[in-house]
Symmetry: C2
Subunit: 214 residues, 2 copies
């Protein structure tokens, strides 16, 4: 599959790119700055035996068969509006979490309820949004030999799209756990500030969440 | 320690009562209906070798050294207002989760942000509220020989109160995990609807959450 990772020059995107490239997928790293995307793709390609190419976000969105969003929340809505036409008919995996550790509550979702629901609202009903991959630390993803101990929770409204995303979660070495419809996205996204707090409090870099009893 | 469990005639309260009684604590089961509390306490006492007594919520709140709230969210605020004078100076453990699976989003917190923050607002600054024990299924607690596999996440603003609660979590056989200040309570409480969904979707009775990497 051709997977575009928008905002893919960040740490999270890089780890996903390498693990999916190793699993045999073709990866397109997207960035606002196409030249930066090309440099990053070249760096990542040297670390894995796989196909990773750098492009502008718009071009990556256009060529990707499945598109993953890994931008900071501040740029989330603007990016989605920019690439909206290119995403019609596709599966979009939204990994973004609106966090502000200094706010009265650290999870600060947009009016739609979550980043993923904002994505669905902006992109429209012809795009199948799946919320996923919020809890697997960039640090863990990038250490390629490292076995990921946390689960990959995901939610969305389209069963076929969720099956595709579950396979991609398995491909990075995590156990996929289906936590229901897209309206559960605030609950998944909200776990990320907890893990940030746990990392700080327990002086670790990559806490995660594992569901027991299933 | 004398632990009062308000709304303790429910399944969650019963499991906690038995495990803490076994660990040597004196347990007071509180209910709106003191006679029902007495009957339930007698039933629970027969299952464990420990001291469990049934009382009205108000009387249990008055005599408890530490007070645990296990009512359904619909009765949360009214109960707190009723027992407010009896709780001054004490540690209150709030286990309540505002859930409505039919709402646009299943976690439906009050204006304060969470049940635990509502408790703190109602009870005032002389009460130390700790949010805890939202994720350990009644089913698991009641099966006394069963080893609890999920962690006991908790948060609160008073370090000494949190240390006491951490010890009580250990006493039921779960690992305590400190996830920070009370303003993180919405994030902990919000995990419960996810576990309800997971139980339904994976056809299990007692899914839980374990933090990896610490």
């Amino acid at each position: 599959m051709i997977i575009a990772i928008l905002g893919g020059t960040g740490k999270e995107g890089g780890g996903l790119a390498m693990r999916w490239a190793q699993a045999g997928h073709k990866i397109l790293i997207g960035s606002r700055d196409a030249e930066r995307a090309r440099q990053r793709a070249a760096e990542l390609s040297r670390q894995v035996n796989g196909a990773i190419e750098g492009l502008s976000n718009v071009e990556a969105a256009r060529r990707g068969e499945l598109v993953v969003i890994t931008v900071p929340f501040a740029g989330h809505r603007a990016l989605l509006e920019e690439v909206r036409p290119a995403l019609q008919g596709k599966i979009v995996v939204d990994t973004v979490v609106p966090v502000d550790l200094k706010a009265p509550h650290p999870y600060v979702p947009p009016a739609e309820g979550s980043a993923a629901e904002e994505a669905q609202a902006v992109l429209g009903s012809r795009v199948r949004v799946v919320a996923a991959l919020h809890h697997i630390a960039a640090h863990e993803l990038s250490a390629l030999g490292h076995v990921i101990s946390g689960d990959g929770l995901f939610c969305g409204d389209d069963a076929a799209a969720k099956a595709v995303v579950a396979a991609l979660i398995s491909a990075i070495g995590a156990r996929p756990v289906d936590v229901g419809p897209l309206k559960h996205a605030p609950l998944i996204e909200g776990i990320t500030p907890l893990l940030i707090e746990i990392n700080k409090r327990y002086k670790v870099k990559a806490s995660g969440i594992h569901i027991t009893g299933i």
